[in-house]
Amino acid sequence: MKIVIGEGSCGIAAGAQKVYDALAPLLNGTDINLGITGCIGMCFLEPIVDLYDKGLLLKRLVKVTPEQAGVIAEAVKANDLTALKALEITDEDKGFLDKQTRIALRHCGVIDPEDLDDYLAADGYKALEKVLTAMTPEDVIEEIKTSGLAGRGGAGFPTWFKWNAARNAAGDEKYLICNADEGDPGAFMDRAVIESDPHQLIEGMLIAAYAIGAKEAFVYVRAEYPLAIVRLEKAIKDATAKGYLGNNILGTDFSCRLRIKAGAGAFVCGEETALIESLEGSRGMPRLKPPFPAEKGYENKPSNINNVETFANVSWIILNGGQAFAAMGTETSKGTKVFALTGKIKRGGLVEIPMGLTLRDVIFDIGGGIRGGKRFKAVQLGGPSGGCIPEALLDTVIDYKALSATGAIMGSGGMVVMDETTCMVNMARFFLDFTTKESCGKCVHCRIGTKRMFEILTRITEGEGRPGDIELLEELCEAIRSGALCGLGQTAPNPVLTTIKYFRDEYEAHINEKRCPAGECAALRTYVINKDACKGCTLCAKKCPVSAISGEVKQPHAIDAAKCIKCGQCKTVCRFGAVEVR
């Protein structure tokens, strides 16, 4: 029997390492294997412990605590798993996987990311072998073209086209770059792929390097991902030792070196030309395009940049054929896409689905809907470059074209779900706060335009909105969209435009009635005590920092709205739920 614990960053944060440390000594001297794997994708059930027998998953135990290590060890040693019934995943939660198809994530949560042999046993490096021994670079590009694979980093540009352009660009010295900057706050599939299946990324990159004719490759990893860097470093070392990387790979005359560069915290460095500047050791300020990186990229040499998830699909396509990949999805979007499902969702985690399912399928069937019995309000796609989609559009199919038509974008796959307690004006303000801070400052439209928008949105959420603000925002959006130098500025208006388009009534309530319908904007909240629920315990009056609450013991209390600073202390301390926000 083998025990496998999910140890991606989120598993570890949920306590997986503590479970591992508790189990390890209990299994000493037995023939039971204890191992780790990466992210299983069911983040809402972490820490997860899987029990395998002869390669077959026997039981999946969820939300395991270190205290339960004893029970698990005893049951496994006695080969009688009945005592583990209570820890097992429910049938309902198993439904999380029902509508999924795993290609990019196919090894995640299955193999040990730190063990090359595990990867090899799962057909690892077979695609590379096939490419190097039986295919020309042109064949590879043709296969990718057949597959219809499009870039998963956000823009959805056809991958074969970029490879072909880099291949045909003049010059012998070419570079391949993997964009693992994963800047969209709310997306974590790239981290999961690197942490859970680093060789998959290496293999995909090597195939791309062969196709475009590069001998040098970089992975630019976000600084906030230390574990991803550690696992990728180990994978590079192991692959080099076994001849899958370095000089004369697999005995052929193809050589390629792979290096990791850690980013230093700048969202704009996810933009490809800014990323190149950063790789060169400079401030990550975008360059004007054209020339495109395929012509003049790293060190002004032809370069090709792809996202982690894009590369993670490549070896599957080579092994199974482009046709098989293209058989999944819609007319304009082929294959699968990974989404990071988070926010007010019941079952949050990593989801990989064939293109063409609807947003409703993902949020309600896979994600189980909203938690805490609240109402769904909107889903945010594409992060700071994307938009908020309302309930009325939940049947939109997931494909590049259909999502763009809503005003949002497919993006890198962040899918943040919001309920009735999320204020959409504040959401727009949140993203503008982000873009003003992350704007590199090179062009005026982005640097100053986003700041002005942020100020207006702040005013509105603080109850200082004026008639005409919505139109002013729309005017600014148009100016920034058309005037900004790079994608950061050009797409920064999207969160504002989509919230105005679908939640205009919320803007109007803030501006005209000085009211926040979601009750989120502190300045627009009014705290009142429900006389029928108040028991007169005096606790709120004692805790109020500005003595705004008065009343006799055992008599209903009242809040003086003129004094109230809306800190919410009274609501927090009240044991009878008598304090209401209006």
């Binding site: 906030e224 400079s282 988070t342």
Partner: protein, 161 residues
């Protein structure tokens, strides 16, 4: 306010020997320097400029562009509180408020006892456990204001013991 001449620049020798002549390594060098000194003192920036053949302005430009780099010392423990989208939706603002009140600091500051510095970041990649913070090497998820304060007090207690 120049603190030139105060840092032990010999600590940098190893890093500079390895990277100074490798093109495009400025960010890597500054990352390693920050690991050594805990922040980037001005005299260190001058030394890096000299060793890499860059102007001090270029080095300063890079050091101020990226949020990872700090030009002032940090406390013993660095709290990185996520304010990414998922964490925002799940109440990161309330957690930040509680931490600020507990430590009597604002984002970017260090507590008077020198124990904690607070820095807000956008996404630690553990969005499904949001709200999330990282203190030194450890990640803490599913935070509430009370839970965050408790974690900080436990660390403080551990230091005192």
């Amino acid at each position: 306010m120049c603190d030139c001449g105060k840092s032990d620049l010999t600590l940098l020798d190893g890093v500079l020997a390895e990277y100074a002549s490798v093109r495009g390594s400025l960010i890597t060098i500054l990352q390693k320097a920050q690991e050594i000194y805990g922040y980037l003192p001005t005299d260190v920036l001058y030394r890096v400029a000299e060793a890499t053949g860059s102007t001090p302005a270029k080095v300063m430009g890079v050091a101020t562009f990226y949020t990872q780099f700090r030009l002032t010392p940090v406390g013993k423990h660095l709290i990185m509180l996520c304010k990414g989208t998922a964490c925002h939706v799940n109440g990161a603002d309330a957690v930040e408020k509680a931490i600020c009140e507990e430590l009597k600091i604002k984002d970017g500051e260090t507590s008077d006892d020198g124990l904690f510095s607070l820095k807000t970041v956008a996404c630690l990649g553990c969005c499904s456990l949001s709200p999330v913070m990282m203190i030194d090497e450890d990640t803490y998820g599913s935070l509430t204001p009370a839970k965050a304060v408790e974690i900080i007090r436990t660390i403080k207690g551990g230091d005192a013991a």
